[in-house]
């Protein structure tokens, strides 16, 4: 029954959806508009033209970068999805000893900046890397090439495993054990149970995660910047970076055209996701009675499992992090350098002298903790707007939230700057045309406030939250889906209206999911940089900004030392959070 009287219109939902739509589409609209102009949109002498598209389609670099991005994204998804799923199975469904300690380790790649990760790989496994030289002594001859496209794809895949892991583990949590027990009784080994029963049953979640990481694959930047340069492998994000310099003055129209192409790639992906999600509704589980879950005993398979996990941890975490750690403790490294002689803590001393270091750390933690919490609150509101209402508005939201992630960080940051700059300017121009006193009052009071917003941390927070919306939102809506609809219906039956149902039943039941989402947003905001780069100002600098600035000045040892400190801090924070009951699994 869709036509209800006006008083029944769900205005909180309307407000949430409208605000979300504005936050998503305003920057995007600017990008689209920019792509069909001949110059910056705020310059006077510009014309409408499709020249930018012509340029990039003509540019062999663009075609090559697009193809590479496509291959990278596919390879990345093909690697990350099976690995993430299998690791989730081991952590969530089996009785693997020590899995509570291993699980947080698996998430480490999320909170290390990709550029630093790439660099860690260079130090440890590059042509003159530490491990490479050891291996050369054993094997003789070059054992691997970390700059080949295949290596880049593998590393990118490994570092995106945690994303798949998160979705897969939350889906696996909700399976009853009976399906697995049935397989065991039919004499299936744990491996077969995993391959034939558990993983196929979470196929929708895996498919969703697959599309998401495919999507993230198009966005990969820092890793390719470090590892792709030597052999000249270009992907769309580094092509975009090239465009900033290629024509001398930054060419926004070209960058916008590339971004528009990327957004167009997302449309079919989002449709694919929705189509995949249709079948996921059969997997609702918490119904008013807790379903029994018994861990699958591994028996002698646990050694194989350990080996598998060890291999993953070695290649994904230990290798690059040891590279970073090493670099922060030595003067120099490489051919002919005796590492023992080169040990030093000078880099750390230099870091401590960095003027804005303390402020940067505090800002980063604040934006991670508080900004993350507020972002989770907003995402929850948006998730609730689409919760159990399968109508056009929900469809609209579904399509929209993934789109901001399509625009690479470089351009996203710029477009947010433009929004914060030009919306007040345009509003002011419009208001000044009218002579009413209301307009004048607004010009005097509202416009300066709007303009001032730009230099506050709010603008940075908004940019981060919009860009990562799809990611955080999905975590929360997965948690929401696990609440059986009957629990909410029961509340309605005793007389609770929509708001009361949400407050008294739905939200308390998903509190672990919300805490987990908060933790994830903290990790992501903590390492983000490029999206907010144009909105930062003295006093709001973050660690990411410091890292990039030091990198540009060639102080790689300082970068390594700061990353080392950063990783340690986050690891400690993560440990504390887990200790105090923020659970990654319920």
């Amino acid at each position: 029954m869709s036509s209800l009287s006006l008083s029944r219109l769900n205005w909180p939902r309307g407000v949430v959806v409208t605000l979300t739509a504005i936050a998503i589409f305003l920057p995007l609209a600017l990008v689209f508009y920019q792509s069909v102009l001949s110059g910056p949109f705020f310059m006077p002498n510009k014309v409408f033209t499709l020249g930018s598209y012509a340029f990039i389609f003509d540019d062999p670099d663009f075609r090559g970068a697009f193809l590479n991005s496509f291959m990278l994204a596919s390879g990345l998804a093909l690697i990350a999805v099976p690995l993430g799923a299998m690791l989730a199975f081991l952590m969530v469904r089996t009785d693997l000893p020590g899995r509570n300690y291993i699980a947080p380790l698996l998430l480490v790649p999320i909170f290390v900046s990709p550029m630093v990760m790439g660099f860690g790989y260079v130090v440890s496994m590059g042509p003159v890397g530490v491990y490479t030289m050891w291996a050369e002594q054993i094997v003789g001859g070059r054992p691997w090439n970390i700059y080949s496209f295949a290596s880049i794809v593998i590393i990118a895949g490994l570092t995106h495993v945690p994303h798949v892991y998160l979705y897969a583990s939350s889906a696996l949590k909700s399976l009853g054990s009976d399906v697995e027990e049935a397989a065991r009784v039919a004499s299936a080994s744990p491996l077969r149970v995993m391959l034939d029963v558990s993983l196929p049953m979470i196929m929708p979640a895996l498919a969703y995660a697959g599309v998401l990481v495919f999507f993230l694959g198009f966005e990969v930047f820092g890793l390719v910047l470090v590892l792709g340069d030597p052999e000249g492998h270009l992907v769309l994000a580094t092509y975009l970076y090239k465009l900033t310099n290629k024509l001398g003055t930054p060419s926004y129209h070209l960058m916008a055209a590339v971004a528009v192409c990327l957004v167009c790639v997302t449309m079919p992906l989002v449709m694919l996701q929705r189509w995949l999600l249709k079948s996921s509704n059969k997997y609702v589980s918490i119904k008013g009675k807790g379903s029994r879950q018994k861990a699958l005993p591994l028996g002698k398979w646990k050694w194989i499992a350990f080996a598998f996990i060890a291999l993953f941890l070695i290649f994904t975490i230990i290798v690059p992090l040891s590279g970073i750690a090493l670099r922060s403790f030595v003067h120099n490294w490489g051919v002919g350098v005796n590492l023992m002689d080169a040990l030093t803590v000078q880099a750390f001393r230099d870091i401590m002298e960095q003027p804005s270091l303390m402020r940067g750390i505090v800002n980063t933690v604040l934006i991670g903790v508080i900004g993350g919490a507020i972002a989770v609150a907003c995402y929850t509101a948006i998730a609730l707007a689409g919760h159990r209402k399968a109508d056009g508005i929900t469809r609209f939201l579904d399509y929209s939230v993934l789109v901001p992630r399509a625009v690479p960080g470089l351009l996203a940051g710029l477009s947010f700057l433009w929004v914060f700059l030009f919306v007040p300017a345009v509003l002011q121009a419009l208001l000044q045309k009218s002579d009413s006193s209301v307009a004048l009052w607004l010009v005097d009071n509202l416009i300066p406030q709007l303009r001032a917003l730009r230099s506050t941390i709010f603008s940075v927070w908004l940019a981060y939250s919009v860009v990562w919306m799809a990611y955080g939102l999905r975590l929360i809506s997965t948690a929401l889906l696990q609440v059986g609809p009957e629990l909410e219906e029961a509340a309605r039956a005793v007389g609770a209206n929509r708001g009361q149902v949400t407050r008294d039943v739905t939200l308390p039941l998903v509190r672990y999911g919300l805490l987990g989402a908060w933790l994830m947003m903290f990790l992501i905001f903590e390492r983000e940089y490029s999206t907010g780069v144009y909105l930062l100002s003295p006093g709001t600098e973050v660690i990411g900004a410091l890292l990039v600035s030091m990198w540009a000045a060639g102080a790689v040892d300082l970068v390594a030392a700061l990353s080392f400190i950063n990783i340690t801090l986050v690891a400690i924070g993560l440990g504390i959070a887990l200790r105090f009951g923020v659970k990654l699994h319920d």
Partner: protein
Amino acid sequence: MFIKKSLVAALGALGTTLALQAAAQVPAGYSADYAKIVEGAKKEGKVIVYAATDTKAAEPLIKDFSAMYPGVKVEYNDMNSTEIYNRFISEVAAGGATGDVLWSSAMDLQIKLVADGYGMTYKSEEARALPEWAIMNNSAYGTTFEPAVIVYNKRLVPPEDVPTTHAEFTKLMLTKGEKYKDKITTYDIEKSGVGFMFITQDLTNQPAGFWEMAKALGSVGVRVQSSTGTMLERISSGENLIGYNVLGSYALVRAKKDANIGVQILKDYTMVMSRVVFISKTAKNPNASKLWLDYLLSKRGQTIIANDSKLYAIRADVTGETTSADLSRQIGAGLRPLPVNVSQLAYLDQTKRLAFLKQWKEAAGKK
């Protein structure tokens, strides 16, 4: 009586100190009107700087400036040169708050902004101490003296291989191509503004031998990179052996701490670039901006640049760790500064630039 006398003396001393302080605000040798500018700056209270020099290098300057002018706060925004340009023109177009002073290593972008009318004309008090090529229209000023050098791995490159002229470099690549295959590195000029500037100036400085050098680079499979830091890392570790056109300020600083890194200044000619500073025409804090500009170019500021920021003071009369005086002696007749004038804008013309890039990529073997 005694007490009264000492009181008077104390007051007198106090008064003199204060007067001296007030007088000390205006640096020695400046015109008397400068006091007005100082007053105005104190009223403004701050200067907003957009700069591509990292905070660590700029911090000593900021501290010293604040000591010199206590009432004027420096709001220092550290971002890369592209970000400076993007942010500045967007903010000016929107009429929003923006930087007062822009200080960037992208000489062409800075000059373009001034040529497009964004710069304020202000004849700095220190202008006379700067070389002629470092000033444009009394708006844009060069502040540093950073050469393009050859960087090599001391352990792995024998001294006889280290080239001292551009011709020797080309010859090295052609004769010892096997040894240096995949081990020569330079900037990816499509990604790095500084790299592009140096290469195009190379063409001007050795019209005859440039394309031969480019082809030689192609023949050894030159590895191009996007930043100085990664280049220096890879040379230090031995992954690459020789770096061409590397920004000398960073290289020389690194060479002091890193025994692997050797720096060679080429004798036939060496290009020198300078970080350009200008004041925005629409600066909200014009007086404070002038103070900062003058400070950067003053002997006091330049001495800090030489010793603490290690960016090579441009003023010839400065002595210290990193100075143009020293470098000029080393470089000698081959000094080729990149002039702060509109000749830098030649390659901002899209057609010309793309044509050059195409030719370069073909010669250097880059797809």
